[in-house]
C-alpha cells in the first residue's frame, strides 16, 4: 500500500537529510506505529505519502501509484484515497459536527443524497451519536478528534495517516481514540500513526517502525515503544 524505495529527503538550507535512504513497505490493512523523537522524520514521511513534498531521491509508491509520475492535477485524486488526522484536529470553527464532516464530501463534489446518507453513519462509527449539531468549541478535545477522524474516514480512504492524534488528549480519552482507529483499521483501511505515546504503542502490540535522525533504526511486528533502549 505504501512503498518507500531508498528515499532521501533533504530540505533546502538544511545540512542533514530529514529522511535518509529509507526503505519500507506497509501492506494493505496493516496498522503501523511510527515512533521516534521530534525531528526524526515522522512528519516528513507523512508529507511525502501525501505528495505535499517531493523526495530528493528514491521512489515512493502509494496505493499502487508511482508518486514521481503522478501529475499535479491528479494529486487531489490521490488525496481522496488517504485520510488525515492531526494533533490539532483542524476543524472549521464556524461549522457544526455534521457540516465539518459533510464539507470533506462537498468539496470533492459528492451528491447531497450521498452525503446525507454516509455522514450519520460515520458519526455513529466514531461514537458521536446525538452530537451532530454541536459546534467544535462545545466539544471536548477527545470529541473534536473523533470529528476529525470521522471527516478523514467518511470517504472510505484506503489509508489513514494520523500525526500524533493523541498528542493533545489525556490518556483516558486517548484509549477511546485508539479504539476508533482500531475500528477503522478493521474495515480494511491501512493506518499509519506517528506518535510519542509509549503507553499506547505498548498496549496495542502492533507493528512499530522507529526513526532516528531520518533513518529507520527498528522495524518489528508486534513491537513496543522503547524496546531499542
Amino acid at each position: 500500500m505504501i512503498h518507500f524505495d531508498n528515499v532521501t529527503k533533504t530540505y533546502a538550507n538544511q545540512g542533514r537529510p530529514a529522511l535518509e535512504n529509507v526503505n519500507l513497505d506497509v501492506e494493505k490493512g496493516e496498522f503501523v506505529f511510527l515512533v521516534g523523537p521530534s525531528g526524526s522524520g515522522k512528519s516528513t514521511f507523512l508529507r511525502l505519502v501525501l505528495k505535499e513534498e517531493r523526495p530528493t531521491s528514491g521512489r515512493i509508491h502509494v496505493a499502487g501509484k508511482d508518486l514521481a509520475r503522478l501529475t499535479n492535477w491528479k494529486v487531489p485524486h490521490l488525496r481522496r484515497r488517504i485520510g488525515c488526522v492531526f494533533q490539532d484536529f483542524r476543524l472549521l470553527p464556524n461549522k457544526n459536527v455534521y457540516q465539518n464532516i459533510a464539507f470533506a464530501l462537498e468539496v470533492i463534489g459528492k451528491p447531497r443524497r450521498f452525503i446525507r446518507k454516509v455522514v450519520p453513519e460515520v458519526i455513529d462509527l466514531v461514537g458521536l451519536e446525538g452530537k451532530r449539531d454541536r459546534m467544535p468549541d462545545e466539544l471536548s478535545g477527545g470529541e473534536q478528534q473523533r470529528v476529525a477522524m470521522a471527516r478523514a474516514f467518511v470517504n472510505r480512504p484506503m489509508i489513514l495517516l494520523a500525526d500524533e492524534p493523541t498528542g493533545n488528549i489525556d490518556p483516558a480519552t486517548s484509549i477511546g481514540i485508539m479504539k476508533v482507529l482500531d475500528r477503522i483499521n478493521r474495515t480494511g483501511t491501512t493506518v499509519v500513526m506517528a506518535t510519542h505515546d509509549a503507553a499506547i504503542v505498548d498496549s496495542m502490540r502492533k507493528r512499530v517502525i522507529e526513526l532516528e535522525y531520518g533513518k529507520v533504526v527498528r522495524d518489528q511486528s508486534r513491537g513496543v515503544y522503547g524496546q531499542a533502549y
Binding site: 499535479n72 487531489p76 485524486h77 484515497r81 483542524r90 468539496v107 470533492i108 463534489g109 470517504n155
Partner: protein
Amino acid sequence: MRAQFVFSEVWIGLRRNLTMTVALIVVVAISLSLLGTGLMFVKQVDNTRTYWQSRVQLSVYLCSPGTLGGTCQKNGPVTQQEIATIQQELNSNRDIVSAKFVTQAEAYQQFRSEFHDNQPIVKYTAANQIPSSFEIRLKNTEADALPVSQVVDGYPGVASVVDDSSILGGFYRLLDGARNAVVIIAIFLLVAAILLVANTIRLSAFNRRRETSIMRLVGASNFYVQLPFLVEGMIAGLIGWLVAAGLLVLVKSVLLSNLHNIFPTGVTLTTADLVEVIIVAMITALLICGATSFLTLRRYLRV
C-alpha cells in the same frame, strides 16, 4: 460541481473583507468610466474628422468689390476670365478630387441661412460683399493642403486660401488633449485596480486558509479550491463595471452634449457608440479581475 457550495463560499469571501471589496469596486468603477470617457473622446474626434474630411477641405475665396486681401486691391473684383483660369488650374491639379465654384448669390444664400438668428448682420451685409469661392476637396487633406494652396495663392482674382483643417485644428487639439489626459489617468487607475484585485484575493485566501488547507487535504481539485476566489474577483469587477456603465451614460448625456453645444460639429455620438464603449469596459473588467485573481491564486493557493 455544486454551484450552491461555490456561491455560498463566494458570498462568505465578499462579506468577510467587505472594505477591500468596496474599495475594489470603487476603483474598478472609476478607472473603467475614465477609460470609457477616453474611448468616447476618441470616437468623437474620429467621427468629427471623418465628417469634415468628407466635406470642404480648402476654400479659395475670390475678390469681391471692397475686398482688401491678396491681389484684390490691385486688380479689383474677379473677372469671368480669371475664374475660368483658376478653374482650369485647379482641374489640372492631381491632388484635387473636386473643385466646386460657389457663386456670390449661392454664398449669400448660405450666409443668410447660417446667420438667420442674427438679423442685424444679415441686414447690413450686402449680397455682393459675400465673396464667391472655390470649394476644394483634396485626396489627402493633411499632406496636400499646403502645396495646393500655394499653387493658387497670389493668382489674379484670389483673395485668400483658407485651410479648413486649420480652423478645426484647435478643436481637435482640445479633444486630443482631453482624451490623452483621461486615458493616462485611466491607465494609472487600472494599475491600481490590478494591485487591489491581487491584494483582495490574497487577503481572502489568507482569511480562508483553514478551509482551503482542509479542502486540499481531503482531495478537492485545484479548480474547486480556486473557483470561489476567482468568482469573487470577477463579481467585484462586474459590480464595478455596472457602476461605470451608469457613469458613462451620464458622461455621454451631460458632458459630451455640452461640448456639442459649444462646438457645433454636426456630429454626435450615437447610442451604439456608447454601447460599444460599455462592452469594451466590461471585457476590460472581466479580463483584469479574472487574470489577476488567477495569477494571484497560483501563487497563494498552491497544491
